[in-house]
Amino acid sequence: MDLVQILSLPLIQFFSATTAAYVLCALGIAMQFGFTGLLNFGQAAFAAVGAYAYAIGDLFLHFGPIGSLAFAVICATGFSFVLGIPTLRLRADYLAIVTIAASETFRLLMTSGQLGPWTGGTEGLDSVGNAYYKMNPIPQGIYNVLGIPLTEKQLWSDLTGWSTVVVCALIMLVLTRSPWGRALKGIREDEDALKSLGKNTFAYKMQALTIGGIFGAFGGIVFSIDSQTVQPTVFGTNFTFMCWTLLLLGGAATVLGPIAGGMVFFVVFLFLQHLLQGLQGVGILPFMTQDQASQIPFVVMGVTLMLLVIFKPQGFFGNKKETQING
């Protein structure tokens, strides 16, 4: 059992691009659920739309990094309209059902044989983001960050991920503290009241869904640039619920919550995983196999999520009064 490794490996997650990708998706849900009250259980679909659109723009349409990004934003906006127009007039529960179904539909559609030449079918796509890595200004070499060696490529993708997080978080801070954000919170509290005050609630909900969806698409892009692949299996429902966990950990109606929640979540998660595997490896946990040991953190995650929703629904950064279920 290598203690140094158990402690240092999870630390990478503090600033890894993967964490940034999940944080971006969680920020999107914070916009939709935390501030507007829209139950989006299909954030994985927005991430998948972003990842696939970027990859297709990059690999087949040769839009270049900026063009592919724009293409992904357009696709995410379009997806948000397709999802929102029929459902946003209905009650919140229906949106939850529709989004979860839409995300699975989209994922399965991407794996279909007919779309194979564009999406790679069940295999997915690789070499995503080669054009982007050509823009890397960091000279080749190994860099030491907090005692962890990173290649210039990893550093570039981590920087990309976290600067996207910073930009999105800043935009969200400004938006949520503006009169526009106030109207969103009003809709979360009582949509009819807002209608009676002359607010076009449908338009607000559509805007919130779209912005949250675009953040999700950014998450998908960061994810696929970091791994240089687009895998349909990544964007299953567990992706969505992972995002929800770190959102609720930090606080749904906050901007900093999902960011801190994401960092803490992945570090603790991987620490547990490595620790349990290590303990199992030296024979301290004889009653379980190596595979079982690596699954335990998922159980812990589920239990944590339940405890969180019951005892600390506002998360660690939320205002207790603002997120209490019964005002």
């Binding site: 400004v174 526009w180 609630t201």
Partner: protein, 277 residues
């Protein structure tokens, strides 16, 4: 007085000298039950009109229909000559017809001041792109805040401005909802049971506010059960029963109308209607 409001004979559905809202054959059924079936109704401009009737008479349903929160089976209505049938609720509010709700809809987890600010209708910062650039809306926001604070003072809620609306009492929420509706500068304000659940001390100030509205030129239409209140402040009374308008007229005359006594007042004409139901 009655001559200044009504034109011709005073009867259910009679014409008004200067109507602000005119409704024609508005009906709405829930299953086999015809909740609203109004042949003709005119609301006089600049006056306080009370809409009374026993429970289940269709008063709130009529409110919902007129403000677009519910869709009628038949009917047209217009506000200052503008057709409102099929118009979305938020557009109705923007045109100047702002309602409150029987069960108050205070935005619990927003502060009292934010509740008020949301009532303003011309805030450029409520547009998504403009909201990103503070200088575009900062000035207007300051004006709105100032207006909100003035109104809160008038409604004696100024000390609560920074509290969450959830922390208000039921009566204070009624006041907040009314004040919030006024933030939109309505031409016609429709109050659905503004006094329900308000303690007597607050009731008096609520009545004064309603009278104050009329003094400012706002037309008021309100639903109420308590006949004493209706008698004190309203210029005109419309009585509904089983979805239909059964009588209307000045308060003193309506109380004597046999149709009203039959449909509504019964043997307790002189007692507090709140106890009769």
């Amino acid at each position: 007085m009655a001559d200044l409001i009504a034109k011709g004979t005073i009867e259910p559905g009679c014409q008004k000298v200067d109507p602000i809202l005119i409704a024609d054959s508005v009906s709405r059924s829930f299953g086999g039950n015809k909740a609203v079936d109004v042949a003709h109704l005119e609301i006089p401009r600049g006056k306080i009109t009370a809409l009374i009737g026993p429970n289940g008479a269709g008063k709130t349903t009529l409110f919902n229909l007129l403000t677009g929160f519910d869709k009628p089976d038949t009917g047209t209505w217009n506000f200052e000559g503008r057709n409102l049938a099929g118009v979305a609720p938020y557009k109705v509010a923007r045109i100047g017809m702002i309602r409150t709700f029987q069960l108050t809809k205070a935005l619990s987890l927003l502060t009292v001041l934010d509740n008020m600010r949301l009532g303003a209708q011309t805030n450029p910062g409520e547009k998504i792109f403009a909201s990103l650039i503070r200088p575009i809306w900062a000035k207007q926001e300051a004006e709105i805040t100032e207006r909100a604070e003035t109104l809160l003072k008038r409604f004696k809620l100024d000390t609560k401005a920074a509290d969450y609306a959830a922390a208000l009492s039921g009566g204070q929420r009624k006041l907040l909802e009314m004040a919030r509706a006024l933030m939109g500068n309505p031409k016609l304000v429709m109050l659905d049971e503004p006094m329900a659940g308000v303690n007597p001390a607050l009731t008096q100030s609520l009545l004064d506010h309603i009278k104050g509205l009329k003094a400012n030129g706002t037309t008021v239409l309100f639903v109420e059960h308590d006949m004493h209140m209706v008698r004190h402040i309203s210029d005109w009374v419309v009585v509904m029963a089983e979805g239909k308008i059964v009588a209307e007229g000045p308060p003193a005359d309506v109380m004597k109308n046999p149709a009203v006594i039959d449909a509504y007042l019964g043997a307790h004409a002189d007692s507090d209607l709140g106890d009769v139901r």
